[in-house]
């Protein structure tokens, strides 16, 4: 137990600081800034909203087209809605 009496602090190698600096530089090179992250997120949301808008608009136009077709069919009596027999 007394073998730790008078123990000195161990020292790291002389080049460790430079290794740490180069690792920090390397990681800084790959780091993405917060502004870029926010910009990407905002672009994504914008594109998503555009898509949702386009889908909704397409849905409405498809609906109105079908309505027009139905009206046309009724007008020209193309739909066999009545169950009456031909005289």
């Amino acid at each position: 137990m007394r073998s730790l009496d008078g123990v000195q602090q161990a020292e790291p190698g002389p080049f460790l600081y430079h290794r740490i600096l180069s690792c920090l530089k390397e990681s800084a090179a790959y780091e993405v800034s917060k502004t870029a992250v926010w910009l990407a997120a905002a672009s994504f949301v914008f594109i998503l909203l555009l898509n949702i808008g386009a889908i909704k608009k397409a849905g409405v136009s498809v609906g109105s087209e079908q309505q027009e077709l139905r009206e046309l069919a009724v007008q020209y009596q193309m739909l066999n809605n009545n169950t009456m027999l031909y005289n």
Binding site: M1, R2, S3, L4, D5, G6, V7, Q8, Q9, A10, E11, P12, G13, L16, Y17, R19, I20, L21, C23, L24, K25, S27, A28, E31
Partner: protein, 176 residues
């Protein structure tokens, strides 16, 4: 994140490099691995420095990072050892690692310290932390309690149990 060469970071490194390395080597008992973890500790200090809220002393904060990084490294190397054990069943056995001799131990104590470090390695996590910080790093019980975020009484109890366990382990080594 730009790296400023003339920043206070170099001063921090110069002031704490031995404290961090000495703590880490106490846990890892391997010089190369201790340098790797010391590097991780200083990278963490660099990244977290803007968020340091001065709720504790700066040295306490640094020691906490060093202790946590060391324990993380030990856990991951234990997982690797388990995997290596399984793979060793199907391949030739690798030789055991050489005995660890702490570079700061006095020359006449080196041989005996090998057994002590082997015994330290078997201590439970909390006892090991308390013993390394108090005996190897030479910190007071109050500082150890702040680093470990426990009471001074709890540190005393951990140290007492660590000593008992080490005595048992060492008597076993000397008998064999």
């Amino acid at each position: 994140m730009p790296v400023d060469h003339s920043s206070p970071f170099e001063d921090i490194y110069q002031s704490y490099k031995n404290k961090v390395f000495n703590t880490v080597i106490g846990y890892l008992q391997h010089t190369e691995n201790a340098e790797e973890v010391t590097q991780d500790v200083f990278m963490e200090i660099y990244r977290s420095l803007p968020g340091f809220r001065q709720e504790s002393a700066f040295s306490t904060w640094v020691y906490r990072i060093a202790v946590n990084k060391s324990l993380d490294f030990l856990k991951s190397s234990q997982r690797k050892k388990r995997l290596a054990f399984i793979s060793s069943l199907f391949s030739p056995a690798t030789p055991p690692p050489p005995d660890f001799v702490h570079p700061g131990v006095l020359l006449e104590q080196k041989e005996r310290s090998v057994y002590l470090f082997k015994a330290i390695d078997t201590l439970p996590e909390n006892q090991k932390t308390a013993f390394i910080l108090a005996r190897l790093e030479g910190l007071g019980n109050k500082e150890v309690s702040e680093i470990m975020q426990i009471s001074v009484g709890a540190v005393e109890s951990l140290l007492s149990r660590a000593r008992e366990n080490l005595k048992k382990q060492l008597s076993h080594y000397y008998r064999s």
